[in-house]
Symmetry: D2
Subunit: 418 residues, 4 copies
């Protein structure tokens, strides 16, 4: 749920409308180069078809705003609520999450019409200036931004099963960079505050802001790079059980992992599959598509550890939020230049399980079941990636995935005790 506090109603309304337009446009732009066929398929239960993302994000506005706050609103098809509602607990085995890729109708054109229908209604409603509507619209936009990232990473996963390895965006040469040594920043311990507070949007799980007790620690000045990762591979990292968590090693053996997802060797060279098609691995870009298990094993191999989410947040919150985001259109991690590459490029695994902050209380109602029910067996990631809309990022943002998952743009940064 959202908390967009303060600001006068007029400004809030204008900002919401502006955010709404930018967000909806960005989604449309993401699909500009896609074919109808691309938008239908689902490659695994964790992923969803592009068409579903397009419809589900639209359903969110219809369900929680238009049906509630716009008298006389009519849906183009009431059955969409059934088809595109991720929260609905479905009855039978034939219509489950894993079958999203079998729903060929409504087709892409009908879903696009649905989007236009809802957009027209939302514009009209937002202009009426109800602050509750503005606040919900901002929530809907942040929800859609989350799905924008998933839209890209889910589609990349699906395309990776095509032997032709088609690109989402036209290929483009990767900038070359000099090797960049890893340095360390020192951070004091003590009682600090983390979590979201004050104005601006945040999700329920970022609250309440609360005190944490930190011990002195050090953070690397850049994420782990592909060059680093190749050293790990060449040192037998994927074959050495003592480096791994017990569950991680079982996964390595069962899945036959020997490199990050989407990597393969061509002679002496490592290649990878990206939204811009197959490319040689860029040695000085941050490694991506590694699981928590791999990140943890790498850190142990390096004699370091992963940071906690509190350490990350305390270290990051005074840095400017800038870096390689979805808005840059690269959609691949790049060799770093910015401030420690804390933001952008890759989501950074922390050692922190995704748990409720002290005093956490999920909000009432359907929107309220948003994050709390996932607080089990997942780990927090921080900082955003090249597939993340910049606007979505803030120091307190908590992303989370299961430790075996690696189809997201996930990397890591090393830490150690101070």
């Amino acid at each position: 749920t959202s908390q967009t506090r303060a600001a006068d109603p007029q400004t809030k309304q204008a900002e919401a409308l502006d955010l709404y337009r930018r967000t909806r446009d960005r989604t449309r732009d993401l699909c500009a180069d896609l074919r109808t066929e691309d938008m239908v398929v689902q490659s695994m239960e964790d992923a969803s078809p592009t068409k579903w993302h397009l419809a589900h994000t639209t359903w969110f506005f219809e369900q929680f705003i238009l049906r509630e706050h716009m008298p006389g609103y009519e849906s183009p098809d009431d059955r969409f609520a059934f088809l595109f509602n991720s929260y609905y607990v479905q009855a039978g085995p034939r219509h489950t999450r894993s079958n999203r890729g079998l729903i060929t109708r409504p087709g892409v054109a009908e879903v696009m019409s649905f989007r236009e229908h809802v957009d027209a209604s939302m514009e009209r409603l937002l202009e009426q200036g109800d602050p509750a509507v503005a606040e919900l619209a901002v929530l809907g936009c942040h929800h859609e931004m989350q799905h924008q990232e998933l839209l890209v990473t889910d589609l990349l996963h699906a395309l990776s099963f095509n032997p032709l390895l088609p690109a989402i965006r036209a290929p483009e040469p990767m900038p070359v960079a000099a090797e960049h040594q890893m340095g360390w920043t020192d951070h004091e311990g003590g009682i600090r505050e983390i979590g979201h507070a004050g104005e601006g949007f945040s999700y329920d799980c970022e609250e309440p802001r609360h005190e944490v007790l930190l011990r002195p620690f050090r953070l690397a000045t850049r994420p782990v790079t592909n060059r680093d990762w190749i050293a790990f591979i060449e040192d037998g990292g994927y074959e050495s059980a003592p480096l791994w968590l017990s569950d991680g090693w079982a996964t390595v053996e069962r899945e036959g992992w020997d490199a990050p997802l989407y990597w393969w060797r061509d002679g002496e060279e490592w290649w990878t599959f990206t939204p811009r098609g197959p490319q040689p691995v860029n040695l000085d870009a941050p490694v991506a598509h590694v699981s928590y298990y791999e990140a943890d094993a790498f850190a142990r191999w390096a004699g370091k550890r992963l940071p906690t989410e509190a350490e990350w947040e305390v270290a990051a919150r005074d840095l400017p939020i800038e870096g390689n985001f979805m808005d840059d259109g690269q959609l691949r991690p790049l060799p770093g230049q910015g401030r420690h590459q804390m933001y952008g490029d890759v989501w950074e695994w922390t050692q922190s399980p995704f748990t409720p902050y002290p005093g956490f209380r999920p909000p009432e109602g359907a929107i309220g079941e948003y994050n709390g029910k996932f607080m089990c067996s997942q780990f927090v990631l921080r900082g955003g990636a090249c597939t993340t809309p910049l606007e979505q990022m803030r120091p307190s943002y908590r992303n989370f995935f299961y430790p075996h998952q690696r189809w997201q743009t996930t990397g890591l940064r090393l830490a150690e005790d101070g």
Copy 2:
């Protein structure tokens, strides 16, 4: 492999060209009402996307005819041979049969261009009058007719996962018919011949024509109807273990079967999902979408048995090949009027495992591995269905599926000892 014997070369060539045009047109007509989205998806490993059927049948002509017999032929894309070759034993886990539904590119439009490209070349080549080419073209057309049936039944299966239950063809009222009593025909025993011989196309597995020893038997004058099947259900057929083969009962329990595939109850009425959308079950039409296990249990419940394939062939071969086929466009079994409904409406399970005829020897080369490698654990079906092109049918035709499969248009006819 094929045997189209005798007939002078000129006639053969003309017939082949005619068959080629009719077959290719029929495939195109089948897709006329489909959307691009429908043509991409795959609902299970046994099924394939429409787009794959369109491309694979075309690849067959390219691979075995154009590349071999047309000097200078150039494929629009050599990689299609890799993507649409069902016989290719694939290397890695990412590009397997179960992932056909993830191949979004080439798209439908490119596949249609591929079809046109091959059609133009085939027309030119067929006009040159090489009898070997004509014979291969006939084989390719029969291969495509098999895939026409699969195209419809595979798509029906995929659409059945859509809660909206969209129709492949526009709905149309079902003809009403009076209840039709089941009679019996008597057949003598003795040494008889079955299998294909003489002119006309057939597959390798229909040969050699050979003698079989039959005992006197009786065949029902019509297939088992939905009315019959409801009596079986209401008598507890799906709950009575002693009626079932051991493997069949395990399947009933594991899958929770309690009616044919695509059936559900709405109050007092049974409904089913067909290529023309959801419809009340037509009581006097032959039951379809039952597995061998179900057909066998029904026969035991009725105190009868399934016929052998030899009995079926001997009884059917002097009947005219007429009935409700794909060409009629109904795509649903209808109450019967014809000669015992031996042909058309539903494929009829026999009690005969699909095994080689005595003296069977698979032909040399890639085309030759056509049927022999499937001669294990499948059962023969006879007679063709409302989803079968009429032209494909002949008395010796052997269709075959695994005993648990029921997404094809499969029903049964009762038999007993004479």
Copy 3:
């Protein structure tokens, strides 16, 4: 069900009692060297613990003879009927066939007491001379003989998971033999009779005796040997997809098969695990522990085929039933000396699916569901093995297993058209 015809009642009674004693003694002897621990475990769903075989064969006598025909009979524990009844369709997931290995009580001692209790009652009852009892007792003994073979092969399978590879019987040197060339016998075609008829015990599935139409054929004079099989391996048999049935190749790939079950290489030498412990593969003994898929692929590689069960029976029925059986105590196939090694050493896969003979009608009642419900997707084997009691063998005996199974003592003999 059984048919022991003719013979005067007195003789029948005496023969039944004698058979009963010999059979029950043989079971006890089989367990003489086993430890209590050996007798509890179950290594897969297809197999059962020794203890279960001991109790289940005893329950059979109690259930179908003592409870029916001995007034006042009292079971030591009525719950045994529930625990040791393979036909009982069980209610919940916790007490299923795959959990037989978790039933630790009653223990081995109690099961042995149960056996003694039933033996004493059976002796008394058999002495009363009721011919129906005698006939049922013969059936129970044949049932127990089947379980004697399973007892040995199931236990071998379980012991194979122990890295120490313990032996069921004390090791003993394997007789050395000269290489034995494979010759061929010629057989005429025509109408012949197969199946059981006349006196002597048989199972329901061996009847009715009926005419079959054979074409001239040739049979090899010995089974395929380990030496032959190694040639197949070395020629790449396990890596060549075109040799295999489609289902067979999928199994080879999924299971990683590259040799018969229980084989491994030690340097240049092949070893195998037998009831007499680990041993070097005896080159001139018949190959054992191969599946139907492997047998079929071997035959294709050799340019031959497997015989039909009718061919086998016609060729075997005038040969003396002699060879290497369980009674010899070897429990391993030996290089052959006898008459073509048709009987004993290894069960020989035929190309015949296990189907009902024409006119087959399962007997009434619980004993009657004996074989009919397994007539689907299995293949017939003929001839008996070194793990089969000699007394169980007759020319019409039909053994059957699924084509992927290979924990039985299964081999093959080649055939070709005459």
Copy 4:
């Protein structure tokens, strides 16, 4: 790894010897009523056979003490190191953890001899007074105490598959108790220390002792009882998705959970299966055999939460360690009388994932991989159960299991913010 600090060497040696004898005797006593058959079986991958526990705990002393510190020590069988070493990363699929229940030899008698052989050697070695040996022996005893609890709970799980529901110990009437209202204790917030320090044994994961920041909180004065749990069931707790974590609800649906493990209804009465056989559920005893998912859902239903492990430890550490432990021989949770029942009866799920304490560094060497590799996706439990040896308990003890597991004696206590 262990830290038994201070105390003069002589005392340490005497204490270690005494602990050794008591621990080894307790294991033997646990098996006194078992049959050989009981000791062989394994009911799931998470569990191990009794025989394996007996041998593995003995192997631990042999491997880490006798082989290292006793010159000339000879093992009765060097292959035991391979069979009973849980840490060994095994090569092939045939000899894996899930096959422990197939290792029938060495048998129970040989394992008992192995125990005696090691005991005799350990006694002699301990008398020599090497403090390093004494310290390792204490570690080995604590290791064995952990396995004593598993021995009982693993065997209970295996016996639960036997329809006869045999008892581990002779049944004995359950004490009746008056209903006991749940009260609350208040605890202040602030910086507190948790973790182990100073003298006495502990595992590596209990260290380092470190500061935590607590907020005021309240703890229930007793665990949740069976009476409470029945109210949850009757209020539809198992059918209400919003009460559950997302992973928890998926488990409820997949497994069909509707009550704690081992519960079933008999008319109006709930029954459960215990080490003393089937018994009516004792309404005022703490609920046991619930998973983390269930504990978490119950707390949400009750409007409370689970405590953190830090809260639990701070609240418990000044209470006497007394309660219903394995030493009492009840082996079932009892209605409470003691000090809030913090210790004994049931392990209490906390909301804390099992993660490394700040500054945690696993010890060097094989013993060192003890706990660290499990620090992923598991939750901490505190307080010990009726199946836990009292001697094993201390305020800092961290037990841990996966959130879906419930075959241990696991219950819960409610907490709320102060």
